[in-house]
Symmetry: C2
Subunit: 233 residues, 2 copies
DNA sequence: ACCTGAACACCGTTCAAGT
DNA sequence: ACCTGAACACCGTTCAAGT
């Protein structure tokens, strides 16, 4: 990391030094930004901080990227690119299920991405491919355009809403859940919030993991879509 | 607004002046913050800007509110307080429906509130009442604790996900939709994104309004919950 | 008790200047 | 062509000082 101490001067131009800092590119900037967001959260992702991570002044970034908004759009599209699309020969139900499970996993790996979803309005190339693939899966499955619009809205609302809630839970492991729950229960006026207290207690005693709810809910959603098709037949 | 020009000096202490700027209170600060967020968005809601709106230095706010986080927690709880809770004698389906429709409307009135949902972790008093009422509605309807947990997760995921998507659409009225859609279609490579193009075209020609999707999806979700109960009976 | 001025350690971005 | 120093107009927050 640290430059060679300059005590030993050489005639030949230092060979390693130029490689230590490869030239900036849009790609390198975006990957460093993704890394920084994963490691330290979205608030740590400032242009100045990103420059620091790349060993460069913040202002240099502007030659490769169109300001901070472009960085945010860019790393969101990198996350979307991680989502497994429905395979062309999937039935609509398998395809939608595969995609939803994969998307939830991607958002769990990059929790900050949910917060970006809402504020970004320019979909990147990966997002365009993604939307087209999901709509195509539904259309091939026999949904009319109008039905596909509703089905898309329903599954994606569920998916993003779940990711949103999962991301904002104050615990991750069952052990952490226990700690948090005990703390809340200790100071919760049970007479005022009996059902809330009962639910928290249940979560503690049953080894509840929120992640398991995802596929349960997803299957109810897919059942609902299936019935849309059946009702028509 | 501007103080009386001091040319005309009076013996009696100015009577109106003190009333022009009533003393700050936590309530006044939070309501001004809500107003500011509604009028100018969350980015305009800075402590300095909020002070300006109240005719006060930013630093004065800290005597009534515990920093900016407390302001954000506070205005989110004001929004939650606007949501109609299930009535005690509602059946579970009416109660859940009433609540979901009311919540979506509240988030549509205050679009910035969705962005707060994810970043805030301390539920306020209105949020506690709200959670307890929804869980109570499900329990009275015959759901076990575990089933109520799943039902809560499913409906709230759908609700928040829908609000999230609705809030991030780049249009509001059908006319705006047309404008936006024409613009996208004009530069969309249709061969690469055939299903996306088809969908956008459909939205334009059918007078599509995204808001109408909400109750369609909600009813599918509630159907799913109903079947959970039936399957058991 | 309530408000404030000055200060600290940050932001994103522009622009003229350096190599 | 690529990078940077200084500057501008902002942040949230602390703290000592004013009334």
């Amino acid at each position: 990391m640290a430059r060679n101490p300059s005590k030993i001067k050489r005639e030949i131009p230092e060979p390693a030094a130029p490689d230590e800092r490869p030239p900036l590119t849009r790609e390198r900037v975006l990957h460093a930004a993704l890394q920084l967001a994963d490691d330290a959260g979205l608030t740590a992702l400032s242009m100045r901080g990103l420059g620091r991570a790349l060993g460069v002044e913040a202002m240099s970034l502007y030659h490769h990227v169109n300001g901070k908004d472009a960085v945010l759009d860019g790393i969101l599209d990198l996350v979307v690119a991680e989502i497994a699309l429905p395979a062309p020969d999937d039935g609509w139900r398998e395809g939608m299920r595969r995609r939803a499970v994969s998307a939830r996993a991607a958002f769990a790996r990059h929790p900050w991405a949910m917060r970006l979803m809402e504020s970004r309005k320019e979909p990147g190339p990966a997002a365009m491919r993604y939307y087209d693939a999901v709509l195509g899966c539904l259309r091939r499955g026999g949904f009319t355009v109008a039905e596909a619009a509703s089905a898309f809205s329903l599954t994606d609302s569920y998916l993003y809403g779940f990711a949103l809630q999962e991301q904002s839970l104050p615990f991750e492991t069952p052990d952490e859940l226990d700690d948090v729950a005990e703390g809340i229960l200790a100071q919760l006026p049970r007479a005022d919030f009996p059902h809330l207290a009962e639910m928290i207690e249940h979560a503690v005693t049953s080894g509840y993991t929120y992640a398991a709810e995802f596929e349960r809910g997803l299957d109810l959603v897919l059942d609902g879509l299936e019935r849309v098709l059946e009702r028509r037949a």
